[in-house]
Symmetry: C2
Subunit: 378 residues, 2 copies
């Protein structure tokens, strides 16, 4: 007991600064801050934002130069949690639908942000879909509560920040000249992602291979239709150093996908075919693994559960993204030590990022020690 | 920015006390304590302890008056996390096997207790079984890290402490007179648990019903053998106000159990048949729900994953215990807002408890706001 008193006495306390590296002490039994928060309702704000893409972005189904986005802020006792919904035009949700959803969210009835399960059950229960809208709330709530606890979520979840994966960097479909240029620009990355699903597939892969030998992951975005052709492509891609293929066939072609998964030399990852928590158990009969995206599943709470489920079902796990600011990317990055592959380059594809967050160093995601999701507004 | 400075300035900081009720502030972005912990290895201690039972305890397979136990302490920077392994004689593990296992655990190579996943992967990887031994480590690690974070785990997990279930209280097999006496002593409890699986089953239930009308949960501990007889008992028990039956048939009788689950008017809960995380997916084909016990599954980390899995598979979840001190009970109680039923009376059955922890008030588990698993040595 004497030892403990001495320890308390010597624990120097200073307010207002955040230790970015080294040990973050949190509040121990010995050093806990006894100031009480005020009992006050949560408050939620949101506004539209337009993400500007560095390059015209072409996948199997469309081309574009911007992505609509909604920014959220959840505030309590002067602490602000940041969130975001990214709304690429090929998905159902829009700035209007997200605004409409968030307008319905009455957080003023909650005076304790730590009751995350209750708050999220309420928000999730407001509608059937609206997963990006729900993700924008989930991310802001995690950021807020992490800041209140004083720890980053990767640390609260007990993860090793050194165990983040390398992230792939996406090379959009383009002319061979532009593709070569993009690949050279991406030389920092240890794995590239190529969008397939058009008649130029082999050319795209050959073009990349003419410049670099790094591993490639391939994403067909449901662009192929014939399972035999898909299997032949899988064999060819494997020879070319591709490590997995995402959504080779339409998500509705479940039997063909299951057949392909059984016969393919490459892992078959479900993306469009695996949206939410409910999809994971059925997906285990169809795919080798799943691509989890916060905007698809509703945020970090659902994503964590999807990882637990997928692992129990012996599935591979990747975590992906849309074009997003460093807000949603940093949130997803908190989970990344748990996954096999990460595709968290969405913030690198835009020219008007709003936050300083997760960095990519030598192709590897680098988590910081800031509390919450680890971002600071620029 | 001005507003934030004012906020920081007004945040009074005092060390050494823990607010037991009301808002626990943790360390916010604004108030974080910048003291750095020393880089030092973790240290683990353990010692045997004998739990003394208040009553002779009889279930289908044996009677006893004590339970062997191992107490663990995991220390880092002067903060101690407490853990425990309870070793009832009908299970494989013993004080010797747990001591042997814990002697092999070299935590001195870890200088950062926050890397819980790495540390637990290492400990779990040391052997195939030893789940109670692993639980004693898992509980101590959670207690330590929760204290370092300065928050109770139910709060870190975002759970509502008001949503704890009522806990059942076990009435062991005995003469009608003693059973009546035990039921009267248990009048605080809103649900009772009766141990069945012998030829006195109907008499036991009738005896309880002669004294009280509260709901009953039944546990046959694999004591029945005939599925048709089991089904008839389920119908009879349902009429008597029983809400579910645990392990009616031997865990190896999987087909009969699946048949019973399909036909029974009561939920059939797997206990002996569902030990670890790996058992949950197969159990979904056999049982309506699972009884999770920290000593069976290896601790809180595995238990949380089991709950996520069971929910995704539409299964009921109960959390149970052995005879244990308030240490392991308080650890399990952290999870209890997530379950349908709790059977966390193990500390109430012993006369030599070592900790002040979770209370039962009007039959309901009451979580406190102490950091970690919420216990203080008596």
């Amino acid at each position: 007991m004497e030892k403990r008193r001495t320890f308390i006495k010597s624990a120097g306390l200073t307010a207002g600064a955040i230790a970015i590296s080294g040990w973050i002490p949190g509040c121990s039994e010995n050093t806990i801050n006894t100031k009480k928060w005020n009992e006050m309702p949560l408050s939620l704000r949101f506004k539209p934002f337009e993400l500007k893409l560095k390059h015209v972005f072409t996948i199997a189904t469309n081309s574009r130069t911007t992505t609509p986005d909604i920014l959220t802020e959840l505030e309590w006792n002067g602490v602000i949690g940041y969130g975001e919904a990214s709304l690429p035009p090929y998905l159902k949700e829009t700035q209007e639908s997200v605004s409409q959803f968030l307008s319905k969210v009455d957080v003023s009835k909650f005076i304790n942000p730590f009751l995350m399960e209750d708050i999220q059950d309420y928000v999730d229960g407001l509608s059937e879909g609206d997963y990006a809208a729900k993700a924008s709330f989930d991310i802001a709530l995690h950021d807020l509560v992490g800041k209140l606890i004083g720890q980053p979520w990767h640390k609260i979840w007990g993860l090793n920040p050194e165990k983040t994966p390398v992230t792939c960097f996406t090379i959009g479909i383009d002319t061979p000249e532009v593709v070569k240029e993009k690949v050279k620009e991406a030389e920092e990355f240890k794995i590239l992602k190529v969008k397939l699903g058009r008649d130029t597939d082999r050319e795209m892969v050959e073009t990349i291979r003419s410049v670099t030998g790094v591993p490639i992951c391939a994403d067909a975005n449901q662009g192929w239709t014939d399972r035999q052709m898909a299997l032949e492509m899988c064999h060819w891609l494997k020879e070319k150093g591709v490590v997995f293929i995402e959504q080779p066939l339409p998500k509705t072609a479940k039997e063909d996908l299951a057949w392909l998964t059984q016969n393919s030399p490459l892992p078959i990852i479900g993306d469009e075919g695996v949206q939410t928590l409910e999809d994971v158990v059925p997906a285990s009969q169809i795919y080798s693994g799943i691509n989890i995206k916060l905007m698809k599943c509703g945020g970090l709470r659902a994503a964590r559960k999807m990882i637990t489920l997928a692992r129990a079902l012996n599935m591979k796990v990747m975590i992906g993204c849309m074009t997003e600011t460093s807000c949603a990317i940093a949130a997803a990055a908190q989970l990344s030590p748990l996954v096999d592959w990460a595709d968290l380059d969405g913030n690198l594809l835009i020219s008007n990022d709003l936050f300083d967050g997760t960095k990519v160093t030598d192709g590897k995601i680098t988590l910081n020690d800031r509390p919450g999701i680890g971002i600071i507004p620029l």
